[in-house]
Amino acid sequence: MAHGHVELHDGPAPAHEHHGPGLYIVGYIASLVLTAIAFWLALGHHMAGGPLALTLLILGALQIVVQLFFFMHVTEGDGPPFHSMALVLGLIFTFAIALMSIWIMSFHYQVQ
């Protein structure tokens, strides 16, 4: 999910602030780098299974941060703070899904 790069900008640009392309380029490079590290770690067998999973989780979380700050402008906006509520809800769901999936799947599925 964290690597998904869905951009759905549409409609008129926000009038209150204008961004140069710099922020987007930095964000784009950061997300590429994070993805590259994840792939390098996973494909090259540089770490043991447990620590690797943890590192990938952290990289995924960082990826979310990059998306939110560089592309979705969470720090901006007017009107009621819908996006903070949405973020809290999103955080709950993300952790619920990720952690509970680990919990559900941590049974011995290969009969030994």
């Binding site: 999910m1 998904g4 759905l8 009107g79 769901f93 509970m100 999936s101 559900i104 799947m105 049974f107």
Partner: protein, 656 residues
């Protein structure tokens, strides 16, 4: 040459499969020729392109969703009837095992993703902007893209029937069965690509409507003054936004397994097929709430209108909607209790599943209390709503039985489960969408659907439903498992299966009657001249039917819940009629052909991936990128409707 042709026909057109496929080919060909000929004869191509294919108007997009949903209901229903025919008696040879597999797969996938989803999106599109006093959705262009991605996703899925072969691994296509080595045909790829393409559209719709409702309400319409249908759309959109990515990931990983040869879900190389099942239901369970929450919203509107009372317990209705949408994320493992994740996991998910019954129960009681001492009119929307209450209550009760994890080991994948989810999905979603269709039909088209034929359809469909599905509960207890294509006579299942088949055909007659009702009403239906045929309560009924394309000549200022009802009570309805001095130029988005073209390109790319024709796939995706770029450099995409034109339209409607 004939040899090559023959090989093509056998590989892609499946002509060795026999007369069923040939008949389908001929019918599809005749229908297509018929459509093309009619459009050409009446010189309607330009009209089709200008008015419909390029439209960004939410009302027209909603109507297109509605037509698509009804067509898909026909296809899915035909699949259902084929299955019931095969199961009518023991040891039938109407279908063979392979065809039966394909048919239950397409039946399930179509009914959930290509019937229920477009049906709720039809209601979103037609109703939400009108209820909140907006002129369109937040992102009209994106809305058109959503529709065309859904449309071409559905087309890709349906075309598998006559080109390449249908998917056959069940509507949730569990690995390892759906992995390449066990399911080598293109059918499974069709499934994956079609769902993926239409899934992009669904996520976009969720974002679009959440933004619309949060940002584009008329002045004075606070959140707690919103109509309950709009609230149900908020709840459904939250679920769509957070649930659909899980499906996208699950399908993408399975596609990588099949196309690139990764091992996410193959057990031998460290993968785990149960992870697919886990991810699928992380989406799959919230998905059933996505489709049923808008139905709850429709029932709330209908109950209040046809009881002439404001809805009982508005804030508890809102709270229960939101609560259902949050709890829906914590129940998914009840779809695989029998996996054996352990007692603590199963306990947690069993308790969470039962907890959903609480807010749902609150809603049911609120609907009943709304009806209590109301002046109930039994028009078609209300009829379907009243039928929904006992049907859904029974479905909910059997759901609680299934949610009890230890007992589920007995019911799992039996006909008891089949009967349960058909009861909640038909009793909840289909009844709800039909109620909504009857309710808002005059708003869409300017005439009512005929009550008399509608009542016949209602009774056929309802009686048919119980005759079809009640025996299946018993069959489940008697040990009949889902997906059996036949059964021996000595199991003693013959009688109940036959009754069930009779019920299915009664429902089929009900559907045919609905079609007849629509056709009859186009010519003879009662015209809606007031714009408020049901004596409604919310803003959409303050507008003429059908609604002019800019919706509101002047955006109203709302001071109350059920504002239109309040104005009617106080005799102030003239306040919502536009005054010439208030009419400003109206800012509207321009139509665009690009969403349609983008859909075509996604379809081409999808077809490329299905058959591993990578040149085609890359060309299609490149085309998508080009359309995206073209959009980025498009600056002239909006226009103003001048006040004179608005005045002209409003005067013609007798509102000035």
């Amino acid at each position: 040459m004939p040899d090559a042709l023959r090989q093509f026909a056998d590989t892609y057109l499946m002509w060795q499969e026999g007369p069923m496929i040939w008949i389908s080919d001929v019918l599809i060909l005749l229908t297509s020729i018929g459509i093309v000929a009619t459009l050409t004869y009446f010189k309607k191509w330009k009209w089709l392109w200008r008015e419909w294919l390029t439209t960004v108007d939410h009302k027209k997009i909603g109507i297109m969703y509605l037509i698509a949903a009804l067509l898909m209901m026909f296809r899915g229903g035909a699949d259902g009837l084929l299955m019931r025919t095969q199961l009518a008696a023991p040891g039938m040879h109407f279908l063979d095992a392979e065809h039966y597999d394909q048919i239950f797969t397409t039946h399930g996938t179509i009914m959930i993703l290509f019937m229920a989803m477009p049906f709720i999106f039809a209601m979103f599109n037609i109703v939400v902007p009108l209820q909140i006093g907006a002129r369109d959705v937040a992102f009209p262009y994106l809305n058109a893209i959503s529709f065309w991605l859904f449309f071409f996703g559905a087309l890709l899925f349906n075309i598998s029937f006559v080109f390449g072969g249908s998917p056959d691994a069940g509507w949730f296509s569990y690995p390892p069965l759906s992995e390449l080595q066990f399911d080598p045909g293109p059918g499974e790829n069709f499934y994956l690509l079609a769902l993926q393409i239409s899934g992009i559209g669904s996520i976009a719709t969720g974002i679009n409507f959440l933004a619309t409702i949060l940002k584009m309400r008329a002045p004075g319409m606070t959140l707690m003054r919103m109509p309950l249908f709009t609230w149900s759309v908020v709840a459904a959109c939250i679920v769509i936004i957070f649930a659909f990515p899980a499906l996208t990931v699950a399908l993408a990983l399975l596609m990588l397994d099949r196309i690139v040869g990764t091992h996410f879900f193959t057990i031998l190389h460290g993968g785990n097929p149960m992870m697919y099942i886990n991810l699928f239901w992380v989406w799959g369970h919230p998905e059933v709430y996505i489709v049923v929450l808008p139905a709850f919203g429709i029932f709330s509107e209908v109950v209040a209108t046809f009881s002439r009372k404001r809805v009982f317990g508005y804030s508890s209705m809102v709270a229960s909607l939101i609560l259902i949408s949050v709890i829906s994320y914590f129940v998914w493992a009840h779809h695989f209790f029998t996996m054996g994740a352990g007692a603590d996991v199963n306990t947690f998910f069993a308790v969470a599943s039962m907890a959903v019954g609480i807010p749902t129960g609150v809603k049911v009681f609120n609907w009943l209390f709304t009806m209590y001492r109301g002046r109930i009119r039994l028009n078609l929307p209300m009829l379907w709503t009243i039928a929904f209450v006992p049907c859904f209550a029974l479905g909910g009760a059997t759901g609680i039985m299934l949610a009890a994890a230890p007992a589920d080991y007995q019911y799992h994948n039996s006909y008891f489960l089949i009967a349960h989810f058909h009861q909640v999905l038909i009793g909840g979603v289909v009844f709800g969408m039909l109620a909504g269709m009857y309710y808002w039909w005059p708003k869409m088209f300017g005439f009512k659907l005929d009550e008399r034929i509608g009542r016949w359809a209602f009774w056929f469909f309802n009686i048919g439903f119980y005759v079809c599905f009640m025996p299946q509960y018993a069959l489940g207890f008697m040990g009949m498992q889902r997906r059996m294509y036949t059964y021996p006579a000595d199991m003693g299942w013959g009688t109940l299966n036959f009754i069930s088949t009779v019920g299915a055909y009664l429902m089929g007659i009900g559907f045919v009657l609905i079609v007849a009702q629509v056709l009859y009403s186009i010519k003879y239906g009662e015209r809606d001249l007031t714009g408020d045929p049901w004596d409604g309560r919310t803003l959409e009924w303050s507008l003429p039917s059908p609604v002019p394309h800019y919706n509101f000549a002047v955006i109203p200022t709302v001071t109350d819940r059920d504002y239109w009802w309040k104005l009617k009570e106080e005799g102030r309805t003239d306040e919502l009629k536009p005054k010439p001095e208030d009419i400003q130029p109206i800012h509207m988005p321009k139509n665009s052909g690009r969403p349609f073209i983008m859909g075509v390109l996604f379809f081409v790319a999808g077809l490329g991936f299905v058959f591993n024709w990578y040149v085609l796939a890359v060309l299609g995706l490149l085309g998508v990128v080009v359309t995206l770029l073209a959009r980025s450099f498009e600056y002239d995409d909006e226009y103003y409707i001048q006040p004179e034109e608005v005045e002209h339209v409003e005067a013609a409607l007798g509102r000035l």
